[in-house]
């Protein structure tokens, strides 16, 4: 029971810290002092105490979207093992449900953007749909690599049966999956080089333009959702890179938190050192990730045939 308590605590409390770390790393690179590490928590707290403004064009879809989107992510968070080897809602085939819960969250955000009737938000929704369609095969192929090499289709079985090379170095195909999932992380959480979360020009925005009309508590929910999405992808990666410490819950939580914070630092470094790709180059980035994942899958198949 206590492991599920830790799981829920991690899901509720930890994700916003990753946003704080990314902000801090970017500030360091820019030579500024930067906001406090806990600034995202204060932001969300402030937003929760504000009122929300709704356009008269919008319907209930617009009001429901932030709640539904956060709910899908929270459900997805219950499927993924975090500190211990099992997740509260684990069942056979939960990997596919995980991938499509993320898709459902995105769909709800997009129809809310269309609901506002604003041309900018419609444009953002169309871009998000186009890029998500390309990011999805990459994610599913990467998950397929992991599933095939562990011959299992649920997270807890996969993490238990993941093959490890000598000296705790993961197999090359797992490393390919890690690289691809990191690329998908950058695309899905709208980070540089796919999207710039700090941009203020509607013409270049992708994800941020869709949430322009949300305010107050709704915006707080959206912030929490995007932080949670980042955390989920980071947790997925950490478990692929570090052998799972199943014996101790606290050691598992420590490994997860350290790993997730390292990934936040890495995202911050990527954001500070890379320029955003031009919009026409984003599909190339995502298709490249898919083909790389396909290569990884081929390698697994050849290894199986040998």
């Amino acid at each position: 029971m206590i492991e599920y308590g830790v799981h829920v605590l991690l899901v509720v409390l930890f994700p916003l810290l990753m946003l704080g770390v990314i902000g801090r790393v970017k500030a360091l690179f820019a030579g500024r002092q930067g906001p406090r590490l806990l600034q995202p928590y204060f932001d969300v707290w402030k937003l929760l105490h504000k009122g929300a403004v709704y356009s008269t064009t919008t319907s209930w879809t617009f009001r429901a979207a932030p709640i539904v989107s956060l709910a899908t992510l929270l459900t997805a968070a219950l499927l993924l093992p975090l500190a211990s080897g099992s997740a509260p809602l684990a069942f056979s085939g939960d990997i596919i449900v995980f991938a499509y819960l993320l898709g459902l969250g995105r769909f709800v955000t997009m129809i809310a953007a269309l609901d506002t009737g604003s041309s900018f938000e419609g444009m953002g929704a169309s871009r998000e749909a186009a890029f998500a369609a390309l990011a999805e095969p990459a994610l599913l192929l990467a998950l397929a690599i992991v599933c095939v090499s562990a011959s299992a289709i649920s997270f807890h079985e996969v993490y238990a049966a993941l093959p490890w090379g000598s000296w705790g170095v993961p197999h090359p195909e797992i490393l390919v999956a890690v690289v691809v999932i990191f690329g998908v992380l950058l695309a899905e959480t709208s980070r540089v080089p796919v999207d710039d979360p700090a941009t203020h020009l509607e013409l270049t925005m992708i994800h941020e333009v869709m949430v322009l009309d949300h305010s107050g508590p709704d915006l707080a929910l959206i912030h929490c959702g995007s932080a949670l999405k980042l955390f989920l992808f980071a947790a997925l990666l950490v478990h692929l890179l570090v052998p799972f410490p199943t014996d101790s819950l606290w050691l598992g939580a420590l490994v997860l938190c350290t790993g997730a914070l390292s990934i936040a630092v890495l995202v911050g470094v990527v954001e500070s050192s890379m320029a955003r790709l031009r919009l026409v180059q984003v599909p190339q980035f995502l298709v490249g990730a898919s083909v790389l994942a396909a290569i990884g899958l081929l390698v697994v198949i050849v290894r199986g045939a040998q």
Binding site: G165, E173, G288, V291, A294, V302, Q306
Partner: protein
């Protein structure tokens, strides 16, 4: 050491994919140089050196590795960069097939290469299946680059990649040092790169010297 062959081969494939998807010539040359490093280490991983291997064989393998390193990631990239600077080009602007589509086509090529490697008869059981697959895939990528790109430098690069593929196939099939194939492959690349390199600079130089515009003015 054999355990790392897989990782090296995957790195090789990732570099192939990178070369297919970038239009920057400098990045392509750097990727071939990196492939040279991988190719230098690969024989050591594929042949599986252990403490029981005779010293002469180890020395031979190390010598081959050093030679590969010097030629494939030292001399040829240097020559290519020189040619590149001489021509003042940095990008491959209009390949015949767009870079997006090339990625997908090459995904299919990789699939075909691996399919061939897997479906070999069991009499070939001593070969390194993954090595053969990666070698064929690299060869296909090289061929594809040679056909798809318009600039001479890119075509030479494609040819280099093709040669790397041949070398990987050789190592995967034999899994023992056979100096003749090795040196043959290296010489091939060396000659090709030098000839094409000189040709490439020559082609650029000749229209300037011929002075088409001036002749037109005189006439």
């Amino acid at each position: 050491m054999t355990g790392y062959a897989g990782t090296l081969l995957v790195v090789l494939l990732a570099l192939d994919l990178y070369m297919i998807s970038t239009s920057r010539l400098g990045a392509c040359i750097r990727a071939t140089a990196l492939q040279g490093v991988v190719l230098a280490v690969l024989p050591l991983a594929l042949t599986g050196i252990s403490s029981s291997t005779p010293t002469s064989e180890v020395l031979r393998l190390v010598a081959v590795a050093i030679a590969t390193l010097c030629v494939k990631s030292g001399f040829i990239p240097w020559l290519m960069f020189r040619t590149l600077r001489g021509r003042g080009e940095s990008r491959e602007f209009e390949p015949f097939v767009s870079l997006h589509l090339s990625q997908i086509v090459n995904g299919a090529l990789f699939g075909g290469a691996f399919w061939i490697a897997i479906s070999l008869p069991p009499a070939w059981a001593h070969i390194h299946t993954m090595g053969l697959g990666v070698g064929l895939a690299t060869l296909f990528v090289g061929l594809y680059m040679t056909i798809n790109r318009r600039k001479e430098i890119s075509q030479v690069l494609g040819f280099l990649v093709l040669e790397s593929g041949v070398m990987v196939i050789g190592w995967a099939l034999l899994r023992q040092p056979s100096f003749i194939i090795e040196v043959g492959a290296l010489l091939d690349v060396l000659v090709a790169a030098m000839v094409l390199g000189i040709l490439a600079t020559g082609l650029q130089a000749s229209p300037d010297e011929a002075g088409v515009g001036e002749e037109g003015a005189q006439a």
